[in-house]
Amino acid sequence: MSTTDVTSTPQDVQRFRGSRLELVDLTLAYGPIDVVKDVSFTVAPGTTTCVIGPSGSGKSTLLRGLNRLHEPKNGDVLLEKESTLTVKADELRRRIGLVFQHFNLFPDHTALENVALSLRHVKKLSLAQARELAHRRLAEVGLAERSDHRPRDLSGGQQQRVAIARALAMEPEVMLFDEVTSALDPELVKGVLNLMADLGKRGMTMVVVTHEMNFARGVADQVVFMDEGRVVEVGSPTALFDSPQSPRLQRFLSEVL
């Protein structure tokens, strides 16, 4: 697997213009049950926030609230100081990309078509433009030579990188990652995490729900610990991992580390 044709085009390396994201008393509910309660924190432009916490703590629901795949019950999410609740949901989702735990690639489409589909039908690019851009995005995630493979002919790690390329192709201002390495074989996790770290370095604003504590410690600018739908602690990785204040976080870290 050579990547030489990719390195020959370093001018493609673009910096992202990540936006500022601010959660204000965000509450999300399933029917009568609040699963995310009064969550507030701010993600500065171009920074990475990792959300950690035990399962059932509302992390994934929180992410879906940020791009309104789950409509908030209360509170607000501000994108560049503007309420996301006042814009059209479809419009908002073009600005906030989401990558899923189980990739959710389109199985009948090749890697290239997976990336090109929304370029064509949402961004309304011509077929040629969409394919060209999709190819560039795939190259950026190290999959230039796999563009004609269907998802089932790719490894989990490669599928997840296609999914990231697909989300990036929409040129989002914020990227959300929902436990994106949880379904991967252990040796494939690194490639995906490296890619995410790279996006962070290039200025993307990211909210990452993860169980990879080393990633949170090494890459995050801010770590949010959630339990039972509430934010229990927020701070720098060193603060949370080296001197956790709350008993819940101490307990959680002792279980996972």
Partner: protein, 262 residues
């Protein structure tokens, strides 16, 4: 061996069969196929509308779809055909002329659309919810996501069931004979039956039966063949590859040397 002769004369009177054969193939087979194809095509169009209504989040779309499906699946085909064929004869006369043929096609279409609607609905609902979510997360509207991603995947899964429905329509098309068709409009069963009256034995009907089997049996096996193909899926055989090779596939220092140097 008297009874053996009787059975032979009743079912296997080859002269009677040969005599009816041109009519069976020229008129009967043609009309059976016209009715079946038309009913399947109309059934697919109406069925898709019913299916999309059936998976809608709005109960004002869901409930009518449910009622439609319950009625046309719940009634015996012959009853639907008679009610529509005779009940709407006056209206039909103004539009299509005196022949009940179009109404027969319409009745079989309505019946098959109810079944096809259920086939499509089950196909659409079998598509993983993550597909719709992925589309929505990319900024597609619900309609676009359904049209571009969810429905095509759902249809592919139910193609075998659709062929089965076509087979069913071939058989149901025989019921149209109750409406009293013109000679040139008669389908296999009616042609066979008319000839049976003349020959005084059942051999023409046996010949008609053979015609039905020539359509339905190969299709049944075709379905099984396709079913297997769709289940396993076409796949480029690729040699197994170690996950360890992939670890280096995304190395930022290789892909963005300048960036890494910063």
């Amino acid at each position: 061996m008297d009874w053996f002769d009787t059975i032979g004369r009743t079912f296997l009177d080859f002269d009677a069969m040969l005599q009816v054969l041109p009519q069976l193939l020229g008129t009967g087979l043609k009309n059976t196929l016209i009715i079946s194809f038309a009913a399947t095509i109309i059934g697919v169009v109406v069925g898709m509308i019913i299916a999309v209504m059936g998976v809608s989040t709005s109960k004002w779309l869901r409930i009518p779809a449910r009622i439609y499906t319950d009625i046309f699946r719940g009634l015996p085909a012959i009853l639907t055909i008679l009610l529509i064929g005779q009940g709407f004869a006056r209206v039909s006369q103004d539009i299509f002329g005196p022949s009940p043929y179009p109404l027969g096609i319409l009745a079989v279409s309505l019946i098959s659309s109810a079944y096809i609607g259920e086939i499509f609905r089950s196909g659409i609902q079998s598509v993983d919810r993550g597909q719709l979510e992925a589309c929505r997360a990319l900024g597609m509207s619900y309609g676009k996501a359904m049209r571009l991603v969810v429905i095509p995947q759902g249809i592919r899964r139910v193609l075998p069931a659709l062929v089965n429905q076509f087979i069913s329509n071939v058989k149901d098309s025989s019921l149209v004979y109750f409406l009293g068709l013109l000679v040139s409009e008669r389908e296999l069963f009616r042609v066979g039956q008319d000839a049976a009256v003349l020959s005084g034995n059942l051999s023409p009907l046996v010949a008609a039966g053979i015609c039905y089997l020539m359509i339905t049996v190969p299709l049944t096996h075709l379905v099984n063949y396709f079913d297997n193909r769709f289940r396993t899926g076409r796949r480029k055989p690729t040699p197994p590859r170690s996950g360890l090779d992939e670890v280096d596939e995304f190395d930022p220092t290789i892909i963005h040397p300048q960036e890494a140097a910063r």
